[in-house]
Symmetry: C2
Subunit: 413 residues, 2 copies
């Protein structure tokens, strides 16, 4: 029996690990060689962590899963009838069970032309591209100011989208301008840099309770971030953003944190997807609209309702789904009936910056320094690999003491 | 009075730092935003260190030099008559004194077509490209072996050039194959990977004494490296290397460590350069063939003999030259005569890998574990920035204990 897993994120890794002792051959295919700890990706984008701090080679993570072969390759087709997947390199891999754990990508709501001017944040390459843009903006500001020109557009940063990622980016950018860049420039004051966060809804981080949203708003305004609620972008180009109300914000650095959706691979299943490009699944995590029950979809790519609400695209959902699918595959092999998945929400959290965070654990809402310590502890412990945990902890201790960011390096494309 | 420094390497930084209290305006221009600690670049290429561990933002290093403006830009022309430099962005910077500290780049001895198949190691981008190639070779070997094909060419690594960089790369690649990759692959044994080091001369690391060369040769052979002395490449392409003796080595990963030379900017001085593209300088470090004594050249870009031998392109030479030029500029401003430069050689060292190194300090030659400890201490202390020192020390301690390499991450181009 062969299980093919597409994707080495939180969900895919969990499936492989839980099948370690099962009597199956496992092949995990990923288009990248590394597992990525996405919750800290914004810190790579804002020069706080190195790319290698939050990534681990998939094959090394799974080195003790002796029944698992890890292949670097991009799956671009699924043949449900013949039970195989195709890769862009022309490989064809047959399967008895297929687990699609290929995740999400940035979505621009029909405005794909915005992508060039407003990059999103889903991969290390994108994080490094954002880091390059942010650091180049300051470099260009010094160059223009040295010649006596106006550097305002270089010193205006616009973030589109007020979810957790948008809030984390806004907080980090404001810290970079006000603390990290101190004494680094001769012809302008980096404290004058302006961070604008625009959000279409009437509150930030809407996945959290309203009192926590209010807290985040207050924290960001305290940091000097210009937060615009109920505000939508009408157009985005290399000169900045035009809002729906007609206002133009001149900015050379616009970042996209307003939407993600399932990867395009989902289309090759040949079933109807939801609006965000996700695959509707049954409670046992098989594809709802496929008769064949050998294809599972988990993590950000799966669309599943629980108690009337869609499960969110976060790591704990993917991890629990991964474990569940491994168990269901073992059930099926043993001739037992698969079980229905149920997500156990242990809480969620987001950080706004230094000593500022929110955490919602059931009915308990925590804010401020304590929430930040909880956030810090949970994220460090969740990182894959002892080395990464220690490295990130040390980077943060150093940053906390010095206000410096260790990864202020511009790499050329 | 304005001093323009081109290049933020060891030499350029030293000039700016030493002019901190001088009554001059300093502008340092570099095409990158970071100072790079080149002696450890091979460790980035072999996944031992993150790019950010050995680089520091130039403007942050010089934040206390209040008379110094740091500009990101690439100087592509020098007008000695008008006393200004041009950048690719169209900026024109006038100077009273110009210090060229723009360093060296890879040279292929008239075989520029080899560059695509055999990348060299002078910048972070090049180091990351080499890391990508090395890691992809192992990934491709697993993919080919899974399908039952022959992976030999993917598992053969050829390094051209047996100087310090070539030796360090060979030692690190052999360690990756024999220790780091353990249990990572299912369809081939990474220990079977072959590392070939080819050197045109009759001994390795010819800048050192013959007994140390012999020691390096023995160490590398002990590690399983196939060292070929008096061997030259006749051609290099994507399939491998053909040697002058007609032998063909099939390899998908050929690395160039056989030669560097001055950057092409030197040509715009309009004077005759030496064979390696370096600028002949007078003992006071001004350009030998320019009447005008306001242009200094230092570091890898300068050609200067001392006691009948050319000064080598190493960090201590650049640092001492930088300090000397700063002093000579101060002398000139004070109406005093410039002084002749003299290099004080404190010794040189190279490492072959874990617990193996050589050091030559005057007449004292050290090898083995003690030399490795000295190498380690000197390199950590020479890194710019407290954070980088601690981070590198911890990475090395971790690697020493676990044989792991923390930066095994493939980033797409």
């Amino acid at each position: 029996m062969r299980v093919v897993i597409v994707g080495g994120g939180f969900g895919g890794l969990e499936v492989a690990k839980h099948l370690r002792k099962a009597n199956v051959e496992v092949i995990l295919v990923d288009k990248r060689n590394h597992h990525l700890f996405q919750p800290l990706l914004y810190q790579v984008a804002t020069a706080g962590l190195a790319a290698t701090d939050i990534a681990a080679p998939i094959r090394n993570v799974l080195r003790r899963c002796e029944n698992c072969t890890v292949l670097l390759g991009e799956v671009d087709g699924i043949d449900v009838a013949k039970k195989n997947v195709h890769t862009t390199a022309g490989d064809v891999l047959g399967y008895d069970f297929l687990v699609l754990a290929a995740g999400a990508t940035n979505r621009y709501f029909g405005h794909d032309e915005w992508e060039a001017s407003a990059p999103g944040l889903k991969s290390l390459e994108e994080a490094l591209a954002i880091r390059r843009r942010v650091l180049l903006a300051f470099e260009n500001a010094e160059r223009v100011a040295t010649e006596g020109g106006a550097a305002d557009a270089y010193l205006t940063f616009v973030i589109v989208g007020g979810g957790a990622t948008g809030v984390e980016l806004a907080g980090a950018l404001s810290e970079i301008a006000s603390r990290t860049m101190t004494r680094n420039f001769r012809h302008f004051d980096p404290k004058k840099a302006r961070v604008v966060l625009i959000e279409g809804g009437d509150r930030l981080v809407s996945a959290f309770a309203p009192d926590l949203s209010a807290h985040v708003l207050e924290d960001l305004r305290h940091l000097g971030v210009d937060v615009r609620l109920k505000t939508l972008a009408a157009s985005i180009d290399e000169h900045g953003v035009v809002l729906k109300n007609g206002e133009r914000i001149e900015s050379r650095t616009v970042l996209w944190a307003a939407g993600v959706g399932g990867v395009s691979l989902a289309e090759s299943l040949g079933v109807a997807l939801d609006r965000a490009g996700r695959v509707p699944v049954r409670p046992d995590l098989t594809v709802r609209d496929l008769e064949d029950r050998s294809v599972f979809v988990i993590g950000d790519l799966a669309a599943l309702e629980q108690d009337g609400e869609m499960l969110p695209g976060v790591a704990p959902v993917a991890i629990q789904m991964g474990r569940h699918v491994a168990e269901n595959i073992e059930h099926e092999i043993a001739g037992e009936a698969p079980k229905a998945f149920r997500y156990h929400d242990k809480g969620s959290m987001a950080t706004i910056g230094r000593s500022r965070a929110i955490a919602q654990i059931g009915r308990v809402h925590i804010t401020g320094f304590v929430a930040w310590l909880v956030w810090l502890f949970v994220h460090v412990m969740a990182l894959v690999g002892f080395r990464n945990r220690v490295a990130v902890l040390l980077e943060w201790a150093y940053a906390y003491l010095t206000y410096q960011r260790s990864a202020r390096i511009i790499l050329r494309q």
